[in-house]
Amino acid sequence: MYQYDKYDQQMVDTRVAEFRDQVERRLAGNLTEDQFKPLRLMNGLYLQLHAYMLRVAIPYGTLNGKQMRMLGHIARKYDRDYGHFTTRQNIQYNWIKLEDAPDILADLASVEMHAIQTSGNCIRNISSDQYAGAAADEIADPRPWAEILRQWSSFHPEFSYLPRKFKIAVIASDEDRAAMRLHDIGIQLVHKDGELGAKFFVGGGMGRTPMIAPEIRDFVPADELISYAEACLRVYNRYGRRDNKYKARIKILVHELGKEEYTRQVEEEFAHMKTLGLNPPVEELARISEYFADPAFDTNASDDLDLSDPDFNLWVDQNTEEHKQAGYAIAVISLKPTSGIPGDASSAQIDLMADLAEQYSFDELRVTHSQNIVLPHVKKSDLYALWQKLDEAGLAPANLDLITDSIACPGLDYCSLANARSIPLAQKISERFADLGRQRELGELKLKISGCINACGHHHAGHIGILGVDRKGTENYQLLLGGSAAEDTSLAKITGPGFDEDGVIDAIETVTDLYLKERQEDERFIDTYRRVGMAAFKEAIYG
């Protein structure tokens, strides 16, 4: 994986020193909160319901054991012994003291991490496929491109004050595991006539106005990818609305201009930019790519597995994925135990995952947008030992992509924007559907819960989505059906009037029962929903 050069390290160290000074000035009363707020937000420090919250960037969800262990150390030393992995492949700490924040950032910098651009109207952490570099179906490793985009977007002077926040995802396979078309810019690496390049999708997003990004270019040569991204941003920066934050995202601009007109302007800008010679030098592309070379796989590793332990067999079947290298597997650690808090991990669990990455996965981990952790390169002959250690630590729920593998935002338990609690709902649903046999009978079912319209819990993209709202001071939950964040991207629709907490769980049981009744052959829930249509589900729910 990528290692900082002297410029990266100097930039991060300088920022830590700068923020330390800003915190001292705030505590001494030389800065008001109005003056200080934009400065702390530029360093990922929010003020949430109970305390300051620090969001730490995990570039494209990739980190090594040392970095993971540092995340555990921060949880233990500065927070309340746990961290929360987020739907943007980051981690958040909920109980940070302002006076500790500079020391935390210094600790992060010591392992090549930071919290820069995890807030504010700038280009946020670049996200990617959590199986990058390991997936059997990718045409190239998307991480070098994500890293180039990270370097290009870090402290980009032109894009530090955009009309609104800006999110970019890069994938390199037809299967979309990164919700790519629900980003401001989605980039899919593709081959055309033997040449590597990228498809560009622009103007997607969730939030209060969910939109699927339309494709605006079917092929940009790889060495022009940055210039094309810059052209997309320039048009947005010039014409994106700054008068109304609810209409300021690029999706609104693309929608209002129309895809054709937006694309025309981007192409015009791109043609101009090509004359400026702004593409990264070829040597730099090569330098960065070298960091993402395959680890030293054992080419004699066996695909044989002893699956005589039934619990291990279930976990392998549910939580491992095909690896591009024979004899290896991608192992997914579910952070969704029954009654657990989706995405939360204790410092001990974080430490253990760091140890296991070093021992079994060439010192690599990934954070998924589904709030799980991936060990991307595990030799199949090590899977049983790995599973045993995970199981001892409560990290082996065999529920990947099942109904209890839900996404949930922090909701009203932690977030000052939320209108309703999300986590208790996820917990109760995991209890209602705790039987693993029942979950597997339901098959792939993406359940996503948001505590407000900002949609951090991706409810628009859930096969089943839940949106918490405030109804005259009481928590109320709207049920949505039919969303998908995968390559068959679709936006979920609201079924009808909302429910209280117990009511929405009953409604979920009703729709899953109808699915089982109507399912044909190997249809997933989403397939049956699309074939049968909303009306049948509404009828089952509301009569």
């Binding site: 505590l27 319901l49 305390a51 909920n94 109980w95 003291k97 009203l412 405030d470 001071g473 928590e475």
Partner: protein, 98 residues
């Protein structure tokens, strides 16, 4: 009644105005009537609190109870982590929020 809340500048802890100081416990909050603007300005200037604001509450036998669920969550702590609330020994404390 109107009570004032905010977050401690240094620690970020939720705090409540007691009439002369700030307390972590909403039970200690006092009714400030319409005097909240002056209190907030003075206290923010002295840096004892960050982003104070006044909220509606009702007086109960257990003390002031914020009118909005968001402030009740702030007053107690996350309902999903009773061990991290201000009343970790009381398993029913979350009922007060809801």
């Amino acid at each position: 009644m109107k009570i004032i809340t905010g977050n401690d500048l240094k620690t970020g802890d939720v705090t409540w105005w007691t009439g002369s100081d700030w307390s972590r416990h909403v039970e200690d909050a006092v009714d400030v009537g319409e005097n909240f603007e002056a209190v907030m300005q003075e206290e923010e200037a002295t840096r004892r609190v960050n982003v104070p604001y006044a909220i509606e509450a009702e007086m109960t036998d257990d003390g002031p109870r914020p009118a909005h669920i968001k402030d009740r969550v702030r007053a107690l702590g996350p309902t999903v982590r009773p061990d991290l609330t201000l009343k970790p020994a009381d398993p029913d404390a979350g009922n007060w929020v809801i």
